[in-house]
């Protein structure tokens, strides 16, 4: 088990009214869940990662940094519970959680 938190600058996200969270994926073998809630400073995204597969913090932070730059999700707290998801799944789950907010 490895845990880490990190915030990255990100353009503010206008949360859709009535939406208080979004969730993509599940905690299951080779999968992960991504939970997005309001709760960070308006110009940053705050990540809280728990992974059962230690040793890949650099890759995680690179992916989360890119994601924060690429998409506007400022003001969002992102909680990630990972159970050894393949790297190819991670960006997709992040995109899916955000997509539910943008296209509710």
């Amino acid at each position: 088990m490895e845990k880490f938190q990190k915030s990255f600058p990100s353009a503010p996200l206008a949360w859709p009214s009535g939406k208080t969270w979004s969730l993509a994926g599940v905690v299951g073998s080779a999968n992960l869940e991504v939970l997005m809630e309001p709760g960070a400073a308006a110009d940053s995204a705050e990540f809280d990662v728990q992974t059962s597969f230690p040793g890949y913090q650099d890759s995680w932070l690179a992916a989360l940094s890119d994601f924060s730059t690429h998409y506007a999700l400022g003001g969002t707290k992102v909680t990630i519970h990972d159970q050894g998801a393949a790297p190819v799944v991670i960006t997709m789950r992040l995109r899916q959680a955000l997509d539910q907010l943008i296209h509710p």
Binding site: A62, V88, M92
Partner: protein, 547 residues
């Protein structure tokens, strides 16, 4: 004048036949006498063709050949080194040279033979390249082939897996070579004649049916959400964008996902009747839902697929069949069709380098090529236009006097393989010195980066065909290479510039909603669903049945 060209080969053939005539009743030889027949017919120095590809095998003849002890100096030509009996020919020291295409099932054994100096490679070919050489400088003196049925005169029925048998028999028979066929059974009347008796010298009813691999069956249950996302991006970013009418698919799960999205996502996008009408693929079970939904006009195949016999017979509007409905395939013509007649090739790979070159070779494993390079390349001899060909051409060739069109050569890969092995690398394993020396310095690249127009990963789509310089192409590759070491070296500014020009596109640029990327979008969830879609006509092989 003794050395002047005359009919030496014909007289040599007559002598070979005379030596073994006592073993045969007409053309029929009992299977117990096979080793005797082969030992007497084959001469040292012969170019010997042993039929065996990635699906069907003349396995009984291979087994009997491998049982011989005195045979030497054979120049072996065959498309695939597949069976332990093939490896045995080398271990016994029979082979002085081998020219082949593909060796993946025995890739490790071949690498070991090579290291031991027991594998004298002439060259590793693509399929059509080798078949073409059968007519030029690798014409077999003896061909050992497999057929489903023979009649008593020696006519052959090849069944669904017609494949390359005619391309072996024709050059052999018409150059006074000897053609020996193993058959599953000898019957009075054949469903159809694929090889006329005139081109066949001996027929042996083998004690067991020839081996056939179900190579093209992909279980929808194993398709992932990520593959669904990639398939959605492919459909919007390439298939719809270029209005692709004719195409070839590889055998991976990514293309299976695309086939299974046509009746669902494709329908939702209003693409039915506008794309994907003409196919050069084997009878893929995962195409059943699209065919049943009316997407597909025709399918031509290089081989058959186990379990698809009744379905293809019942859908003779779609597939090429004999008058009785029996499935027909042709590997050389299918490959040629895949080269010249289709707008798009879609393949997958294990490794892609920073130039876009790809390879399935890994260290200490000699795999070879097969057919993908025949289709995953630019057909410089193509002259007929199509919308897709012209559009890709405009993107790639802005200057006057350049080739007006370009085939879509698409590589779909995930940025990591199983076990967190990066797909993207600075240098291919294929360029390992041990492999390079076996290949006489030519790296075994499956698809060249110069030929690739589109590289699609779960991260995004890179239009390599529209890149103007090698540096730009590398930047586009890095942009979609995810969090591999190659991808981590990208510059955000370069990626942004390529995105602004439409060379790099992310899901939102393509109008793809990642939240929709879910296995539930597939038209079939498992093999049993495919059987249902087929109306009970598809008979999956037992290894795919879990109910």
């Amino acid at each position: 004048m003794a050395d002047a060209p005359s009919d030496t080969r014909r007289r040599n053939k007559a002598a070979r036949i005379a030596r073994v005539q006592s073993l045969a009743n007409g053309k029929i030889v009992p299977h117990e006498k096979t080793a005797d027949l082969l030992g007497q017919v084959i001469e040292p120095g012969d170019i010997l063709c042993l039929e065996g590809d990635n699906q069907k095998q003349a396995d009984f003849l291979a087994n009997q050949l491998a049982s011989l002890d005195s045979l030497r100096d054979i120049h072996l030509v065959m498309s695939c080194i597949t069976l332990p009996d093939h490896v045995a020919l080398f271990k016994k020291g029979m082979v002085k040279q081998v020219d082949f295409c593909y060796a993946a099932p025995q890739g490790t054994a071949v690498a070991e033979l090579l290291a031991a100096g027991q594998f004298p490679i002439g060259a590793i070919h693509t399929y059509n390249e080798l078949y073409a050489r059968y007519y030029i400088d690798l014409t077999p003196r003896v061909a050992l082939i497999a057929a489903v049925q023979a009649d008593r005169a020696g006519n052959l029925f090849l069944g669904a897996n017609t494949e390359e048998t005619p391309a072996i028999v024709e050059p052999t028979a018409f150059s006074d070579g000897v053609v020996i066929a193993q058959v599953n059974e000898i019957v009075d009347t054949l469903p159809r004649v694929d090889i006329p008796a005139d081109q066949v010298d001996f027929v042996i009813q083998a004690p067991y049916p020839f081996h056939l691999t179900a190579l093209f069956t992909r279980d929808p249950a194993a398709i992932t959400d990520v593959q669904v996302l990639i398939a959605m991006m492919a459909l919007r970013g390439i298939y719809a964008e270029y209005e692709v009418q004719s195409l070839n698919h590889g055998i991976g799960f990514n293309t299976a996902a695309i086939e299974l999205l046509l009746p669902t996502y494709g329908e939702e996008l209003g693409l039915k009747g506008k794309i994907c009408k003409y196919w050069m693929v084997n009878p893929l079970p995962t195409m059943i839902p699209a065919i049943e939904s009316g997407w597909v006009d025709t399918v031509f195949s290089v081989g058959g697929e186990v379990g698809m016999e009744r379905y293809t017979a019942a859908r003779s509007d779609i597939y090429f069949t004999g008058r009785d409905g029996s499935f027909h395939s042709n590997r050389p013509m299918g490959q040629l069709a895949g080269h010249y007649a289709v707008d798009m090739f879609v393949g997958a790979s294990l490794q892609v380098d920073i130039h876009g070159n790809s390879s399935t070779v890994s260290k200490n494993r000699i795999t070879g090529f097969g057919g993908a390079p025949n289709m995953g390349c630019q057909p410089a001899g193509r002259r007929h236009p199509s919308k897709a060909w012209l559009k890709a051409g405009r993107e790639a060739n802005p200057g006057p006097g350049s080739i007006p069109g370009r085939k879509l050569v698409v590589q779909i890969v995930e940025t990591f393989q199983a076990g967190r092995v990066p797909t993207f690398v600075d240098s291919l394993d294929a360029q390992d010195p041990s492999i390079m020396s076996a290949m006489q310095g030519v790296p075994p690249i499956m698809i060249y980066g110069d030929d690739v127009t589109h590289l699609l990963t779960e991260e995004g789509l890179a239009n390599l065909g529209a890149c103007r310089t090698p540096e730009e192409r590398t930047a586009a590759i890095r942009a979609v290479a995810g969090y591999t070491p190659v991808g981590l070296q990208r510059s955000a500014a370069e990626t942004a510039a390529l995105r602004a020009r439409g060379i790099v596109k992310f899901p939102e640029d393509l109008g793809v909603s990642p939240a929709q990327a879910n296995r539930g979008l597939l038209a079939a969830q498992d093999i049993k669903d495919l059987v249902r879609w087929s109306g009970g006509l598809y008979d999956p092989p037992s290894q795919f049945i879990d109910w």
